[in-house]
């Protein structure tokens, strides 16, 4: 008995239910539309998934620590606008257009982290407040105008558009990020401490973990990843309507929750979030193919979030002694 339990646990380590869901969703999608499996469409799915996925990875780490980062949508926008305003036309400005947004994302993450872990503010409301502040600040900065750059260097637009074996670069980067974050969360002291803080903040403090430092770092990571995602958007399309692209936090949160990260912290894996991101990207893609527009997609996402939360919370009630 003990060995079978062990084997099952070993299996569960690598394959969690969300990967099964992903396989199922892909099969269903292939039946619904034969366009779905076309190489061009697959690349589109991956490309869309990756932009939200990078945001979701950061939010996963924050949520494993027991907190929420809902300011990410605004950080994505801020980074995209910054990159375009800098106007990456030569190597020096390309570097600037990458470094400056990343540093700003890190800075905002640090503010979020200190507000949440040092001042003990409720993270949901505080980061929604931050989201509002950033939206206002960026819109004020560009007077509510569209932002575009006319002489984007090939080097910058290549960030998101260049392909290797037919697959865009960000997809590779995303895979690397998932692997690195999985190792960080599973194999390093930092990761272990994040799980500890999410499981029991007070116990972790008593065990000598630097809660404020570690917790703030999770927000810094989340801010930087959101900024990275914004840089990709800037590179991908070359122009941004700042009042229209704020909606990344919600699908990312949906993916994080769908991937099984516990809302009360202490449980979750970056790789499962990646699977969930793909599930959502596939669903959205099929809906687009079937000509269901944004409102329906939004509705479906809300239902998926509620359903996922309900599923996991009911399962947890069952598992509890």
């Amino acid at each position: 008995m003990s060995t079978s339990v062990k084997r099952r646990r070993l299996l569960g380590r690598f394959i969690s239910p969300i990967w099964m869901v992903l396989i199922a969703v892909v099969i269903i999608a292939a039946f619904i539309s034969d366009r779905f499996l076309s190489p061009y469409n697959m690349v589109t799915v991956l490309q869309q998934g990756v932009v939200t996925g990078i945001v979701a990875l950061g939010m996963t780490v924050v949520l494993i620590g027991g907190q929420f980062d809902l300011s990410t949508g605004a950080i994505v926008m801020m980074a995209a606008v910054m990159a375009l305003v800098i106007g990456p036309s030569d190597p020096a400005s390309i570097a600037l257009a990458i470094i400056l947004p990343l540093m700003s994302g890190a800075f905002i993450g640090a503010v979020n982290g200190l507000v949440v872990y040092k001042a003990r503010a409720n993270s949901i409301v505080a980061t929604i407040g931050m989201q509002f502040f950033l939206f206002g600040a960026v819109l004020a900065g560009v007077s509510g105008q569209h932002v575009r750059t006319d002489n984007m260097a090939a080097g910058f637009s290549g960030l998101a558009n260049a392909k290797l074996f037919g697959i865009p670069l960000p997809v590779y980067l995303f895979v690397v990020l998932v692997v690195v974050l999985s190792v960080v969360m599973d194999r390093t002291v930092f990761g272990r401490h994040v799980y500890g803080i999410g499981g029991d903040e007070e116990a972790s403090r008593r065990a000598g973990i630097r809660v404020v430092w570690t917790g703030t770092l999770t927000f810094v990571l989340s801010g930087m990843l959101a900024a990275l995602s914004g840089i990709f958007i800037a590179s991908l399309v070359g122009n941004v309507d700042p009042s229209a692209i704020g909606g990344y936090a919600f699908p990312a949160l949906t993916a994080v929750v769908l991937g099984g990260t516990s809302l009360s912290g202490g449980m979750g894996r970056p790789s499962d979030t990646a699977a969930a991101i793909l599930v959502i990207a596939v669903i959205n893609n099929v809906m687009t193919i079937l000509n269901y527009q944004y409102p329906i997609q939004l509705l479906v996402q809300g239902v998926v979030l509620a359903g996922a939360v309900a599923f996991y919370s009911l399962r947890r009630v069952e598992l509890a002694p």
Partner: protein, 252 residues
């Protein structure tokens, strides 16, 4: 007692807003001494424990370790002095397994700087099985463990590292008679190794057997201190309830 006690508290006071949890407590524990702290619910025992282990600072008062004045800014500071604590609430992260809790905050690392999970699992299992042979499978979240098993994890963690003073806040509260006897054995063994022990308990009978000295706390004040061989269970219970000071000559 010629040499200085390992730890000495003088005039420790703690206020939580309007609540005066401790009002000028003096207490000392020497190496190899078992001091029992008894008192009613809400007497202030756990607050004293948390001050001693650096969870929060006292409002006023002095802490001396080996005669040296110190302040504990955090639990890490207390640990550096060899003060380990088993909290009444156990302070385990429910989502982590026993080895992870065991090494929480002082993880073992490989040469590359990654977590050395194998070594941590091995060491934790060894320490745990020594303490509680019924703990077969340690690699599951402590949430799924019984109260006694969780307690074993907390105790094993506290004594595994270089400990000079072990503080136990009701360590036997969740344990059956057999495990309670094991903890008693453990206390005797640690005492023989020269480790000081501050034992908080509601079980006066137990305490009479184990302690070198019993200190009674009531309403945030020490109302008396007795040596078990010179006192009786009834007298201690009386002190806990009435807070009556001992007649002169019998107090230490």
């Amino acid at each position: 007692m010629a040499d200085v006690p390992f730890i000495q508290l003088t005039g420790i006071t703690k206020h939580f807003g309007g609540v005066h949890a401790l009002k000028g407590v003096d207490l000392s524990v020497a190496a190899g001494e078992v001091v029992a702290l008894v008192g009613h619910n809400g007497a202030g025992k756990s607050v004293l424990v948390q001050i001693l282990s650096g969870v929060f600072p006292p409002t006023a008062g002095e802490i001396r370790v080996n005669g040296q004045m110190t302040t504990f800014g955090s639990p890490v500071d207390a640990r550096h002095h060899g003060i380990e604590t088993i909290y009444q609430t156990l302070a385990l992260a429910d989502n982590l397994d026993a080895p992870a809790n065991f090494f929480l905050g002082r993880e073992l690392k490989t040469t590359l700087g990654f977590l050395d999970k194998k070594r941590m699992a091995r060491e934790a299992a060894k320490a745990l099985i020594e303490l509680n042979p019924n703990l077969v499978d340690v690699e599951r979240p402590v949430r799924q463990m019984s109260g006694g098993q969780r307690q074993a994890v907390a105790i094993a963690r506290a004594i595994h590292f270089d400990v000079r003073l072990l503080i136990m806040d009701e360590p036997t509260a969740a344990l059956g008679p057999h495990e309670t006897a094991q903890v008693a054995e453990l206390i005797k063994r640690l005492r023989a190794q020269g480790i000081g022990i501050l034992l908080i308990s509601h079980d006066v009978r137990d305490v009479m057997q184990l302690a070198d000295r019993i200190v009674v706390l009531k309403g945030g004040q020490i109302v008396g201190s007795v040596v078990p061989s010179e006192s009786s269970e009834d007298e201690v219970v009386d002190m806990i309830i009435r807070g009556r000071r001992l007649p002169a000559g019998r107090a230490e």
